[in-house]
């Protein structure tokens, strides 16, 4: 085949095979020739005007670009919408270019159009989401200039004359110290952070920002997208909840103080009688010239004065509402310290004291002194329960482990256990079963308070005659956070 024939054939094939609609129109906008793709999309074109074929319209389009090409001989482009042969709306991108005759005049204009209906649908969908999603969305460049923002953001933060992210979000004049986007531009990786801004009405707002790289160029992030979820309401509710919990706790504390005073009077009466008794016995001993009796009376006085001191200290400690001192602490270390504290006492009393720590437990934000006090109270109670038990091999075990996201302390004994009535009363004020001047009745109450300060739970399982088990659980996600 001669070379020219090949070229001609190629032109014809290209004209028909190119995946674009091509139509050639004369100066009256009449289609003189069109390719197969055009026919496939817009149907029979023969004898039709350009606007009839593309838009099913009898009128020439306003601002017709083909006409401009005829007039100027220049190339134009436009985004148009029309109807296909089935009457369905379609969008297309058109390029108009001239075909000159030998005299240099525009004889015909070629309209080359690409169907962008699908892209437009996606673009509209994206725009709809972008503007209506209940998040603030901005696209920022490396200088933190906002190049695009959604309606939600504009309604809340957009200020006239402000261009930078930090100006809009925070009314600042320089990039934020805790800027999340800076890390994204630096590392190319998605980042998150809690931020506090000021909206255009001057109201403080809190939002969780996620920043992700949007456009990479030559290995660096040129654009990033910031998506911020407003959590002001949630934080407000959380503050209210905290406040309500605090008020509830205070109310409970005051009620407890009232009940405690009633309970305290019972204890004080016994102590008063002990003191009076002590004085009587001392006097009686002096009268009888009996040193033994004087000594006995004196010991009674000393013991009851010491008991008053203990009760007043514990009562004040409970009543004034000691503030916990939270810090990162090792739960197993605290448990170990408590075990060490009771080791000698247990050995002397014939009780086996065991610590069971089957796994390392990560440090957590706790009040170590408070936890120590709580565990000390429970171990001390467990030992007392063993001392009045008939069981032959007495044992107290302190477990510390992590389970389902919770730090667990479990104190198990095989002492005397508790009956139903006792179990119901153990966390109430001034309840004690230790009659001989030993208990103040505040230990378990304080333990419950400490657990509650950690937003934890305490439960008791007990069987009379067989033993008791106290379980304290601190869910890690519910523990107070360092910032609180």
């Amino acid at each position: 085949m001669p070379k020219q024939a090949v070229v001609n054939k190629l032109r014809t094939e290209l004209f028909n095979q190119v995946p674009m609609s091509i139509a050639v129109i004369d100066c009256d906008n009449r289609i003189v020739i069109a390719n197969k793709e055009f026919e496939k999309t817009y149907g029979d074109w023969k004898g039709k005007m350009c606007h009839e074929a593309y838009k099913h319209s009898a009128q020439i389009c306003a601002g017709c670009k083909a006409k401009k090409t005829f007039e100027s001989g220049k190339v134009f482009s436009s985004k148009e919408q029309g109807y296909n042969k089935d009457g369905k709306l379609n969008f297309y991108l058109v390029r108009y270019f001239p075909l000159f005759d030998d005299d240099g005049r525009v004889a015909f204009v070629v309209e080359m159009s690409a169907d962008i209906t699908e892209q437009v649908a996606i673009e509209n969908e994206y725009k709809l989401i972008f503007d209506n999603v209940p998040c603030y969305i901005t696209v920022i460049d490396r200088d933190f200039r906002v190049v695009k923002a959604n309606g939600f953001f504009n309604d809340k933060f957009s200020h006239q004359g402000k261009t930078y992210c930090y100006e809009m979000y925070k009314n600042g004049n320089q990039p934020c110290e805790d800027c999340v986007a800076r890390e994204v531009f630096k590392t190319g990786r998605k980042q998150r952070g809690l931020q506090t801004g000021i909206d255009k009405d001057g109201t403080e707002s809190h939002y969780m920002t996620t920043v992700a790289p949007l456009l990479f160029d030559k290995g660096q992030v040129n654009l990033a997208i910031e998506i911020s979820q407003d959590i002001s309401e949630m934080m407000h509710l959380e503050t209210q909840l905290e406040q309500a919990m605090h008020e509830k706790f205070e109310a409970e504390r005051l009620a407890a103080v009232g009940q405690t005073i009633a309970g305290l009077s019972h204890t004080i009466k016994n102590i008063l009688m002990g003191l009076e008794g002590g004085m009587y016995v001392v006097n009686s001993g002096l009268k009888r010239k009996d040193d033994g009796l004087v000594k006995q009376g004196w010991q009674m006085l000393e013991s009851d004065i010491s008991r008053i001191s203990t009760i007043v200290k514990e009562f004040l400690s409970f009543a004034k509402g000691t503030k916990p001192n939270f810090t990162m602490a090792d739960p197993v270390q605290i448990a170990n310290d408590v075990i060490a504290l009771f080791k000698v006492v247990c050995e002397q009393s014939g009780i086996e004291l065991k610590g069971s720590f089957p796994m390392p437990v990560d440090k957590a934000y706790l009040d170590p002194e408070g936890i120590h006090t709580a565990l000390t109270n429970l171990i001390s109670n467990a030992i007392d329960a063993c001392l009045v038990s008939d069981n032959k091999k007495l044992c107290v075990t302190l477990f510390c482990y992590e389970e389902d996201g919770a730090i667990v302390f479990r104190i198990k004994d095989n002492g005397c256990g508790m009956d139903y009535d006792t179990k119901q009363k153990i966390f109430t004020n001034f309840f004690t079963t230790k009659g001989s001047g030993q208990g103040t009745g505040l230990g378990l109450l304080m333990t419950r308070k400490i657990v509650s300060q950690h937003r934890g739970k305490i439960e008791v399982n007990t069987t009379e005659g067989e033993g008791s088990e106290f379980v304290i659980k601190f869910l890690r996600k519910q523990l107070p956070k360092p910032a609180e």
């Binding site: 009466k269 016995v281 009268k287 006995q296 009659g435 001047g437």
Partner: protein
């Protein structure tokens, strides 16, 4: 009924050792023989052996409450006639326990205690009652004298 050397014997039951110690000396000073216990579980057996002339009982002791111990005493064939003095630190004990024992008398036929004293006790009143109960012919002369230590 009476203890050695002709003294009346009193059984003191309280879980507070100091109070037991005090009542023991107080009662001994006033001419009584005293046996005591801080463990309510063994009281019935002890009372059966000692056969006291009067029992001073604390109500609201741990483990076995004084109330159930009182019932046991009143339902015991040997002990049921022994005078019982109830001593308690319970708020408003005298009034509260009277009502409680009245109900107990109505429902179970258990007779009420012979006296109630609220802690801290008035030693003179306690001694007066005990003297009246155990030494009806002497108490008029002894009342003032026996309380001198307390006063």
């Amino acid at each position: 009924m009476t203890a050695a050397k002709g003294k009346n014997k009193i059984l003191v039951i309280d879980d507070e050792p100091h109070i037991v110690g005090y009542l023991k000396v107080l009662l001994e000073d006033n001419g009584y023989s005293v046996v005591s216990s801080t463990n309510p579980a063994c009281v019935i057996k002890m009372a059966g052996n000692e056969k006291p002339d009067l029992i001073c009982l604390d109500i609201m002791m741990p483990r076995q409450t004084g109330l159930s111990l009182y019932k046991d005493i009143r339902q015991n064939q040997i002990l049921h006639n022994i005078p019982v003095v109830v001593i308690s630190a319970v708020e408003n004990a005298v009034h509260g326990f009277k009502k409680l024992f009245d109900r107990l008398t109505e429902t179970n036929g258990i007779t009420a205690p012979d006296a109630f004293f609220e802690k801290p006790i008035n030693a003179a009143n306690l001694l007066n009652f005990i003297n009246t109960t155990l030494k009806p012919n002497l108490h008029k002369d002894n009342n003032t004298q026996t309380c001198q230590n307390k006063q």
